[in-house]
Symmetry: C2
Subunit: 879 residues, 2 copies
């Protein structure tokens, strides 16, 4: 059913600015400015309802064209100008698209509608400027030809280029009138050759332009844009018809764009570009060098003052920083468009805080103004563009921050070189858990395969290490120790490269890194956030260093300390001895001492705050060498006639630990029950650390978390182990015990688990994998990316929590757990803990805290506050 309405066309002065659905963003802005009494060129808006009708029915609604005609007559009346120039100076019009949600550059615009051979003369007479009149006509032919008639843009450009070359000038504005007359002739011939022409009748021009704007809603690029930005396809666009004003009528004319505050820093001063004697599109085209907006203060002080006043009143009206387009026509200022200005993270923070200080907005509004995901950028290194070479190629922006170092292709080399103090960038096809030591040792990570949720990406984000993944253009030869960049450039081990994980850029050679310099206002903003949020913000951190960094960034505790990371590196031989059962007692004792040191460091950094230590989670074969590598080794030894017994034995052990589906195998608490010595060692190390911290006068609040729990009986076993060891170690400090909820059955048994567990922590990475029945490692390469591209899934459930599926389990488990044990503490420590949408969900379902990697903490504090504000759920002020 087509969208019927009584009225499809509204003059700017009669439209209601609040009606953005019908008027679109641009139309609403124009109506509003008109209402404020600003000098907006007269015009009218054709509503999105007309567009929807047209797209569904293939024709305009009945009575539509007479509405347009009377609106047009009104403009003629208001301006004293006339379309076709028959009853006064000629009226030229623009037709611009303008949808509910901004889709910059995706749809059509036609300028100078109404020009033709006869109008040119009238125009010349009115303006006293022949050149201007022909230029206007030339511009109409060019944009109309391209946009409405579908001619090739390059053909027109080619004509203009020839003319410029003949005169040996670089700008169209330097072509004489005769050349523009020639351009008009050539353009018309060019169209005629395609059996096409721009109608002479101005009304006919306007009609076709409107149709063209509506049709551009369904252009492929517009369609794609909407899909990527979640904009519904049925909305349609409005179309704004507006009197043209001209900035190219001599030195008293000009055009410009300005921001009411600096979009890079947020500083409160006019910031923008001005181009004298030019039309708007010349600014955008970037052909002529623009002047800073401040020149107007000298050349046209009264206009400058007027602009400042306009900016100020627009900021008042929008309660936000604005981006304003204007034109000066023969000394008169016209405001063409305004919208809320895009800004950098730093500017967003500074502007938000200052607007509160200026009384423009309140704190809640300020908090809602900043995008939480952007904050991470403020805390990582960047690259000084002007002091660095251009990027050599691109990958995915997998983990933010810039890093520079020597390229290495092998984990062992990475560890070695890093040990010698050389910064390295690890370059791999993709990474696996076996590479973990190398990931730890590196300043940055570059992979040619794997997406934003690949192993490398996830681990890098967790560690706060910059990473660029999926740089598909390079080809890596790890054995030979080099990679080949696009263009054939070969980069060998030891050569310097740099990556920017914030943008996905990769540089070959030295760059200059820029220290993170968050704006001074950040602390204040986050302080307000802390007052408004109800969700706690904790950190995932495995080392004392990470924990200290997390505390600095405002973490209220450690929600996840992965003890297995402590099994890597130089401890791996000890761990392997345990697995391979070679004098395991001694190795276990050694491991206990090392692990106790780890815990002491964590407890020191987070003194007085909870530190949740997760017992060993991964399957043991992750600590063993790869069977295929061993097989190669065996083949080599055999070929060389050397003894193979040792390798054969290792192969046997590795084989005996192999599993068909390791994700669903012997790991987590299962391992703790089948091989209790491992969990006991970890528990003892924890108790030892607590004892030491107490002796040192500290306030250690260690909690023990059990991974992969599916049944309360598993928790009972660990509870008994803990009780036994506590008694043996004579530790009387409280040591809370809780479990991960990371497989569906734990969520389904939440009530029973809460009888034993004092806290839950949702491990939403694994919970997503098991609830969806998909292994991230396999899925991403094989079908998840295709699913996302084809729209089978609308979101990657590993980036944003799947609320309808996984979320339901989270909600149920939280409710059932708390019903049994009202003081049950419930958190979330998966990747999702740092995702603003997921944080909003966690707030809504009543979690107590979210835990994420340290760099995401500020964003999470902000997102938690936004969740409280959005859900009308701000805690009472703390007294």
């Amino acid at each position: 059913m087509a969208d019927k309405a009584d009225k499809y066309v509204f003059g700017f002065e009669e439209a209601d600015p609040a009606d953005r659905d019908l008027l679109g963003g641009k139309g609403s802005g124009l109506a509003r400015m008109m209402e404020m009494g600003l000098a907006v060129p007269h015009g009218f808006v054709i509503t999105t309802a007309a567009c929807r009708y047209f797209l569904e029915e293939g024709r305009m609604p009945p009575g539509f064209w007479s509405e347009v005609k009377s609106a047009l007559a009104k403009i003629e009346n208001q301006t004293g100008r006339s379309l076709g120039g028959v009853a006064g100076p000629p009226l030229l019009l623009s037709a611009r698209s303008g949808a509910r949600f901004s889709m910059p550059g995706m749809m059509d615009t036609v300028l100078n509608l109404g020009a033709n051979q006869a109008v040119v003369s009238e125009l010349a007479r009115w303006s006293g400027d022949q050149r201007f009149a022909w230029d206007a006509y030339r511009r109409l032919l060019q944009t109309y030809g391209e946009v409405v008639l579908g001619a090739n843009r390059d053909d027109f450009e080619h004509v203009m280029t020839s003319l410029r070359e003949r005169r040996n000038v670089t700008e169209d504005s330097r072509l004489p009138t005769s050349d523009l007359v020639a351009a008009v002739r050539q353009f018309r011939m060019l169209l005629a050759a395609q059996d096409s022409e721009v109608p002479v009748d101005p009304m006919e021009q306007l009609r076709k332009a409107i149709v063209s704007v509506f049709e551009s809603w369904n252009s492929p690029r517009a369609y794609t844009y909407r899909r990527l930005h979640d904009i519904p396809h049925h909305l349609g666009t409005a179309c704004n018809i507006q009197m043209m004003v001209f900035g190219n009528l001599g030195v008293d004319s000009g055009t410009g764009v300005y921001f009411t505050r600096d979009p890079a820093t947020g500083q409160h001063e006019m910031f923008g570009d001005y181009l004298p004697n030019a039309q708007g599109e010349d600014v955008v085209a970037g052909i002529r060098q623009t002047l800073p907006i401040s020149v107007l203060a000298d050349t046209h002080p009264e206009i400058h003052a007027e602009l400042e006043a306009v900016g100020s009143s627009l900021e008042d009206a929008y309660s936000d920083m604005c981006d304003i387009e204007f034109t000066i026509e023969k000394g008169k200022l016209w405001i063409l468009q305004t919208r809320v200005g895009k800004r950098s993270a730093a500017a967003a923070v500074r502007a938000a805080v200052e607007m509160v200080e200026e009384g423009l907005i309140d704190r809640q509004t300020a908090l809602m103004r900043v995008e939480p995901g952007q904050l991470e950028q403020l805390l990582v290194h960047g690259i000084a563009e002007d002091k660095s070479p251009p990027p050599a190629f691109f990958g995915l922006d997998a983990s933010p921050g810039a890093a520079m170092g020597k390229a290495v292709f092998d984990v062992r080399r990475a560890v070695e070189m890093a040990g010698e103090g050389t910064p390295v960038i690890l370059v791999r096809w993709e990474t696996t858990p076996d590479d973990i030591e190398g990931l730890f040792a590196s300043e940055g990570i570059l992979t040619s395969h794997g997406g934003k949720t690949s192993h490398a990406a996830v681990v890098a984000r967790a560690m706060g290490t910059p990473a660029v993944t999926g740089a598909a253009e390079i080809s890596i030869d790890a054995e030979q120790g080099h990679f080949t960049a696009p263009g054939g450039l070969r980069v060998r081990e030891g050569e310097t490269i740099a990556i920017d994980g914030t943008t996905g850029r990769v540089f070959i050679g030295e760059v200059e890194l820029v220290e993170p310099s968050p704006p001074a206002e950040l602390e204040m903003l986050l302080g307000w956030a802390d007052e408004m949020r109800r969700l706690g913000v904790w950190a995932n951190a495995d080392t004392g260093k990470d924990a200290a960094r997390a505390a600095e960034l405002g973490a209220q505790g450690i929600g996840l300390a992965r003890t297995e990371h402590m099994f890597m590196g130089d401890r791996l031989p000890v761990v392997r001895r345990i697995i391979m059962d070679e004098k395991p007692e001694k190795a276990l004792l050694e491991l206990q001492q090392l692990q106790a040191e780890d815990f002491i460091a964590l407890l020191e950094a987070m003194d007085g705050k909870p530190v949740v230590v997760r017992l060993l989670d991964p399957p043991l074969h992750e600590f063993l060498p790869d069977r295929w590598d061993l097989r190669d080794q065996y083949d080599q030894l055999r070929a060389a006639g050397e003894p193979t017994a040792e390798v054969e034995r290792t192969i046997e052990v590795v084989r005996s630990w192999e599993e068909t589906n390791p994700m669903l195998g012997l790991r987590g608490v299962r391992l703790g029950i089948i091989r209790p010595s491992l969990y006991r060692v970890q528990i003892r190390a924890a108790l030892q650390a607590i004892r030491r911290r107490v002796e040192e006068g500290g306030d250690p609040r260690l909690e023990i978390m059990v991974p992969l729990v599916a049944d309360p009986a598993e928790m009972e076993r660990v509870r008994d182990m803990l009780a036994e060891e506590r008694a043996a170690y004579e530790v009387d400090r409280e040591v809370k015990l809780g479990n991960m909820v990371e497989i569906p059955r734990a969520a389904l048994m939440a009530g029973d688990l809460a009888r034993i567990s004092e806290f839950f922590s949702f491990g939403t990475n694994d919970l997503t994998q098991t609830t969806f029945g998909l292994s991230r490692d396999d899925a991403e390469v094989r079908f998840l990316n295709t699913y996302l591209a084809d729209g089978v899934l609308s979101h990657n459930p590993f980036q944003s929590l799947d609320e309808t599926g996984v979320g339901r389990l989270v909600e149920w488990a939280t409710a059932e757990g708390k019903a049994v044990r009202p003081d049950l503490s419930v958190g979330l420590c998966g990747e999702h803990g740092g995702d603003p949408a997921s944080i909003d969900f966690c707030h809504r379902v009543g979690l107590d805290y979210v835990s994420m990697s340290p760099p995401r903490i500020p964003g999470a504090r902000l997102a938690a506050a936004q969740a409280a504000i959005r859900n009308g759920d701000i805690p009472l002020p703390r007294t």
Copy 2:
């Protein structure tokens, strides 16, 4: 808190038989028989409450011993006999355990309490039989020594053996009195040597015997038995004290056990053993050859008639077949014990039906009397014990039925030999999906590893092929083509072996197989079941042959036809060509024709009934060769200097399809979306088959089921595919489309899925794996068995549906699906479909049908009826 009561001791005549919790099974039976006026030797029962008190407090409750004394005085009064023989003929007593649930032989019994040197004389005088008196004393010393004093059983046996050898006799009953006197002396010396003795005071004997019975509740074997049979550990046992009567007082005496119906066939006639001039334990010990109970009709017709009357009144009282122990003492019949008799499956069926005909019980009771799991035994081959060698070793009873064939160790050989018409038994370490062709080709399967839910066991049960798994005593050398049985016997390829999957026995050499011969009453019983059940019973069947068998057994449809089994065998090369992309179009067409034939056969066998065809489910690498085998092949070729390019290419393809966690990878509907040609071919084959069956005048009701669905968008894709193909094939028959619910998210999204799907089928195998986050292949070997043995899990969730976890998802999804689409058909087609407990659950949560392998259908029909009866939910009679 100990269990306090007013009264702990009850005479049989005053106890309430209904109070089984306090009296235990034996005590309740004795009280009941006393109430019925049967000749039960007088006695009293000490309640389970006393036992619980004793076990918790370490002493008997206050006043306990005086209660015992007055109960004893009452017996003396009733019998005219006296303990210690001081005031009349000597009273001897038995002390027997008797718990709420039967735990045969697990706890202590002491006989002839009250005997001592002085009493022997009195006893001899009363009985006129010196030998009897000494024998009674000898027996007391032996059992008391062993049971109460903990002496070694073998030491006593050694004494008796020496005596028998000296006299050159084989039975104790042939030893003269002097030898029994010698035995008594030697027994006392034997105990004295251990600083131990049987108290002389009869009351003291009794006291210690009672304590001993109570303590035996916590003996290790009793504990283990309870764990295996789910009997709570806190219940405790009652203790029955009863006057001894003697069957060894000459030809007028004797002892026996009999069933009121034949426990093997169910025939309604007295069936049992009688031993003249003997005590009860002699029957059990099996030293003397017993006589059939029918001899009594000749030797003691009046006793025989009395016994028959007792049996009849006990059957009336219990409304069931009874197992009765009796003793004849000097011509007087005493009834010692009765219980409901254990019976074979055939007997259970026949007796149940006949009891209805006799008016003893109603149909519902009859249906509740038969164990559904037993029915499968009636439909499979057995082994004629008497015409076969004894079993050589044992494994697990993984899939019921007996089979005989040539041993083979290699899948290819199995297929080859079976192709030549030679029956084979496949012998493997364990099986994998790669072995599927071999499993199909074999009569039976024997593995040395893997449990009852291992791959071999699951597949064998699904196919109805006998299997013995986990025969850990044998060692298999597949390369050399032999296995070594216990004792070192080597069995080579081609030698005949036989397995009995019903019992786990394995035979070397020829056996005689017995055809299944279900009793004639089975049909009648199942007919009643069909009238009472509400759940439909469908079959899992992949071939026309299986479908026909299923229809015979009463299947109302095919709930699961696995199309991938049709990809095996001689079709594997075609499938591999598709995967390896070698002229796939031709191969796809070929596959379509073959698959259409499969479907036609299924539709023919199930004409007019629903046939649910599941689209391809497993990952493609299951159809490819093993990478390790290929690597070996490569090494061999290389060593031989032959070209390796071909193998290398195959290795690359195999590698490209490998996954870290194949269970959670690219399979099911994901494959159908990423490689739509496979699903299209299957859909076309289905439509082709429907068209053909319609042309042939049939009534094809094919339904299409989509595996591994996690999101409604996946179903939309398949729905569109089906619609397109239907239009192309011009099929106007209804073709229902539904989805498996086998990953948690499908259950969580059930409401949305039901908007598209017309039916759901719970795939509880995979649903259990994903909900528990465990891979059955890995879990069973690595931790599940340990979990079960240690009691971390009380049940194997792959055998019986995990109601509290997985079941919750089943319940929610059923309710939500039916809320959206009230006529949604909901079934279950996992392994659990044939499990009676799971069937009860399916009934309770409102499923429409269960689907299982054909041999389990009769059991399922019965279990479904039992579920309806148990839940008070019998449908109204069909009119």
